[in-house]
């Protein structure tokens, strides 16, 4: 009688979390399948054939600007409107920008100069991250022969 009663436990009850520990694998599978069936029946889907849009290799572009490399539409000559003249140079040099950039790089700080500058910076920045106690050591380690900061700071009387 007891065994028969056990099987009569309702499905909803068996689905509960605390009941699942005691279930055997077969009933577990059965329950899972039933759950899946319910979910798939409830799912909506469009009754349409699958869209097969091929990637197009033709791009439409209705502007002449791209095709003919047209200039900027505002122009001023011989100083009639200096603002527009400046703008003209700026807008029309867009396609020549790359060349200009290269020149600018050359004009700027050279690599050697930068390396030299950073060389001196290594000590200063390193000191910043060192603890106070290590400051003195740091100075000795890095430039032991110079030791400019070793000299004790004193009040210097200003000269008249």
């Amino acid at each position: 009688m007891a065994a028969e009663r056990k099987t009569k436990l309702s499905k909803n009850l068996l689905r509960m979390k605390f009941m699942q520990r005691g279930l055997d694998s077969e009933t577990k599978k059965q329950l899972e399948e039933e759950e899946k069936k319910i979910i798939s029946e409830e799912h909506w889907y469009l009754d349409l054939p699958e869209l097969k849009e091929k990637e197009s290799f033709i791009i439409e572009e209705q502007s002449f600007l791209l095709c003919e490399d047209l200039l900027y539409g505002r122009m001023s000559f011989r100083g009639f409107n200096p603002e527009v003249e400046k703008l003209m140079l700026q807008m029309n040099s867009k396609n020549k920008r790359e060349e200009v950039k290269d020149e600018a790089v050359e004009l700027d700080v050279s690599d050697e100069e930068m390396a030299r500058r950073y060389e001196t910076l290594v000590g200063t920045i390193g000191k910043k991250f060192a603890r106070k106690r290590d400051h003195a050591n740091y100075e000795e380690d890095e430039n032991g022969d110079i030791k400019p900061s070793k000299a004790k700071k004193m009040f210097l009387k200003p000269q008249d």
């Binding site: 091929k54 197009s56 290799f57 033709i58 791009i59 439409e60 572009e61 209705q62 502007s63 002449f64 600007l65 791209l66 095709c67 003919e68 490399d69 047209l70 200039l71 900027y72 539409g73 505002r74 122009m75 001023s76 000559f77 011989r78 100083g79 009639f80 409107n81 527009v84 703008l87 807008m91 029309n92």
Partner: protein
């Protein structure tokens, strides 16, 4: 013009008779007619009639290198086909530094302007209605321009735009189903020369082809004009030109020269500019 016409006639006869698509590569700088179909280089092998062609196509399908081709004004994509919508000469530009199949377009002559996104045009303010200005741009429909689309404009600080002012602006919305919309700022919010065009000056209309000719990077006409006297010009892609010089006489000369130079040979142009430089 006569040889062009003859050429066009022969093309028409050919396309009517044959009805077959021509390869775009073979008709470069030749006249194409609306309705014609063009074949891109990678589609050419598909054109071979009969079973052999089909086999060839299937064999090559995997190996074919597919590059993106841009079809400019006068051409339209229809599925995988490329159709011509304007009458004119087919032009081609080699792809730039990046990969791609280059740009094809039709160099056509027309007077009617159709708004295109990104074009810079000259418009006339025809109405002020609340937050929006109505701008006549010479197209089928007036464009709208928000009062906030000016540099430095806020809800409190309205731009000073009156009915009848000339506006140099750019299209942000331009398609066949919607009202075109203009702005007078770029994507960074700067005016970059757009906005209300200054007082005085003279506005006149020319064909769209002439505008493109004058804006070409190596245009002799503009270089010559610039040497004459101090002056300012604004070109709108909608066929409008605004000019201004120190005196009314100079402004009128300028307008007449620009208008007349469309159908002149380079020799004639040189003569005119020599005469102008003397006076």
């Amino acid at each position: 013009m006569a040889p062009v016409m003859a050429e066009a006639a022969s093309v028409a006869a050919e396309s009517l008779g044959g009805g077959r698509a021509r390869a775009a590569r073979t008709v470069l700088d030749q006249v194409v007619l609306p309705g014609e179909e063009l074949l891109l280089p990678e589609q050419e092998d598909a054109d071979v009639p009969g079973g052999a062609g089909e086999k060839l196509l299937r064999l090559n399908a995997g190996a074919r290198s597919r590059v993106r081709v841009v079809c400019g004004p006068g051409l339209r994509r229809c599925g995988d086909r490329l159709l011509v919508t304007k009458c004119g000469r087919l032009r081609y530009k080699e792809p730039g530094s990046g990969s791609g199949g280059g740009v094809y377009w039709v160099d056509s002559q027309q007077k009617r302007y159709v708004p295109v996104k990104g074009d810079h045009v000259i418009g006339i303010v025809t109405a002020k209605s609340g937050d929006i200005f109505k701008i006549d741009i010479g197209g089928s429909e007036p464009a709208s321009l928000s009062y906030l689309a000016f540099e430095g404009a806020t809800k409190r600080n309205r731009p000073n735009v009156q009915v009848g002012d000339l506006i140099y602006g750019q299209f942000v919305v331009a398609n066949k189903d919607m009202e075109p919309e203009m702005v007078c700022i770029d994507s960074c919010g700067r005016a970059n020369g757009m906005g209300v065009i200054g007082q005085d000056g003279l506005l006149f209309k020319v064909t769209l082809g002439l505008i493109r000719k004058l804006l070409a990077p190596d245009c002799e006409i503009i270089q010559e004009v610039g040497k004459l006297y101090p002056l300012e010009i604004v070109f709108g892609m909608n066929g409008r030109i605004w000019v201004k010089a120190k005196t009314i006489q100079q402004t009128l000369i300028l307008a007449n020269v620009l208008e007349a130079c469309e159908h002149m040979t380079s020799d004639q142009r040189k003569q005119i500019f020599a005469r102008l430089a003397e006076s």
